[in-house]
Amino acid sequence: MAERAVAPRGGALAIQSSLALLLLAAAFVSLTMGRFPIAIGDIATLIVSWVGIGPGRAGVSEPVWRVIELVRVPRILVGAFVGAGLAVSGAVLQGIFRNPLVDPHIIGVSSGAAFGGVLAILFGLGAAILWSMAFVFGLAAVLLVIVVSRKAGRTSILMLVLAGVVISAMFAALVSLATYFANPNDTLPAIVFWLMGSFASATPGRALLMLPIITVFIVPLLLIRFRLNVLSLGEEEAQGLGIRVEPTRWLALACVAGITAASVANTGMIGWVGLVVPHFARAVVGPDHRQLLPAAAMIGASYMLIIDTIARTLISAELPLGVLTALIGAPIFVLILHRTQNQGWQ
């Protein structure tokens, strides 16, 4: 164990500000890139018009403002919120489970949501029903995990992880079963592409749905950030410090479940963000959740925007997000683990 100076407190604000700038830069770059070429001047004209300056939409051609306002901005907003939500969820779960391998998918919510979504596709139901079914099934899976893990009125973290693995496996099997019965000509490809994840479905309406939902679940997590420090010492330590562990833990799990269910419902399964980004954020700001959660949110949002920009510009067809987050996330993860031993984890 090498000696390590903790990030100086005065520097914390500077680091968070740089991360905010990174996010803004990622959003701007994402706005400018895409298959429909748009001049940076036009984008600038539109952006300043949003705060009431300049000629506004009149200053650019109609296709330009349509692409920006109806396609790219909603997509960027949804992407950033999903990225931030998954990253914060991962950081919270790694903290309260005290385990570096945990990500939001471990509590069963993703597999449940995936099954709900796949069922909707299988029966040819519309996008709104697909979204709702995925969300509801995701939450139902978490409830199931909680019921299974409860023993003598208490839930240990170990039981929670085991129940999460079991319930996930069960829903994964159900997803396989559903794909097996799917019509290989139309339904099967739809299921496969939905599961691999994409922000292509983002519309202004979808953004208006996702933003408040994810915000409602992220805010409580940010508010309990100091409690999460205490919880990350383990159950008995937290009790010894005079904290009632279960209410905080349930609140955290409920919020994580909500974020993950909403993001799977919207975007399909996006792995790795909830696993890799918290490690990266810990390497930058240390393990204190008061710094870690805002940092993870901004890095997660930036990461998601960068991945999504690559996904829709690398080749002429759009690449599935889940594939890219893993292909890019895995090497980054290895790099972080090697570069930053003892940063955040001992």
Binding site: E3, L233, G344
Partner: protein, 254 residues
């Protein structure tokens, strides 16, 4: 102040009692030592007092905040010493609150009191065992504990660090009026700082009393199942006494 009446503990209704009918009372400024062989319930008793375990029988009354210092502390995260001590403030903060500058000031005060001021920014897991023990005591102090419960606070420490921790505990009881309860495997440490002692002899057999009445060779020999000898060096009795096990007596005592 802390008062326990007819405490008993067993892990399940049909199993044997780890201890039973155990009563004691401690005033502020007093120190109690829990002694006994491995597995006789020292830590269990301490956790009952700390409210981490519910006793199977009897009741505990205490006034004031209890600070619990576990035997082993380990975290996978690279929290700084200051971060850890600040967490002592958590009990005074609501679920959605963050520490204020006043909380930080209390944490710093506690760190200075145990002499770890300059270690504040070090990662807690890079401290030596003795320093870490002091940091955990500082955390309990930051929580404004009136009652300090320590599980074998000296067991992994070298002689000098043992002395540092013991003198810190003596200081906290004498100067700050804290009530201290600690488990220990070293009777000499109890002699150093305790006013009273509990001997956990075995299932359902325990005894509580003032140190002078408890620390006699026969009782110690029964407690450890090996011949124990007490040597008085110096002239003012117990503060200079030494208790030594006759290791070769094993087998001679049941």
């Amino acid at each position: 102040m802390i008062e326990a009446r007819e405490l008993g503990f067993r892990f399940a209704p049909d199993t044997h009692w780890l201890f039973r009918d155990l009563s004691f009372s401690l005033a502020g400024g007093q120190t109690l030592a829990l002694l006994g062989r491995n597995g006789r319930g020292k830590t269990t008793l301490l956790k009952c007092v700390a409210n981490l375990l519910t006793p199977s029988a009897g009741a505990i009354k205490s006034d004031g905040v209890i600070g619990y210092v576990p035997q082993q502390f380990s975290t996978p995260f690279s929290y700084s010493v200051f971060d850890i001590v600040l967490m002592g403030r958590a009990r005074h903060l609501g679920m959605f609150s963050n520490p204020t500058s006043q909380d930080r000031a209390r944490a710093n005060e506690a760190l200075d009191l145990v002499g770890l001021g300059e270690f504040a920014e070090r990662a807690i897991m890079t401290l030596s065992g003795g320093e870490r023990q002091l940091a955990l005591i500082a955390r309990a102090l930051a929580s404004q504990a009136d009652i300090l419960l320590l599980d074998e606070p000296t067991s992994a420490l070298d002689f000098r660090n043992q002395a540092i921790v013991l003198s810190m505990l003596r200081h906290l009881a004498a100067e700050r009026g804290l009530t201290v309860i600690m488990t220990t495997h070293d009777p000499t440490h109890a002699l150093e700082i305790a006013d009273r002692a509990i001997f956990l002899y075995g299932p359902e057999r325990s005894e509580e009393g003032p140190l002078e009445a408890m620390f006699i060779e026969d009782k110690l020999t029964e407690l450890y199942g090996i011949t124990m000898r007490k040597f008085n060096s110096g002239d003012n009795g117990r503060r200079h006494a030494n208790i030594v096990a006759d290791y070769r007596s094993i087998g001679a005592v049941s």
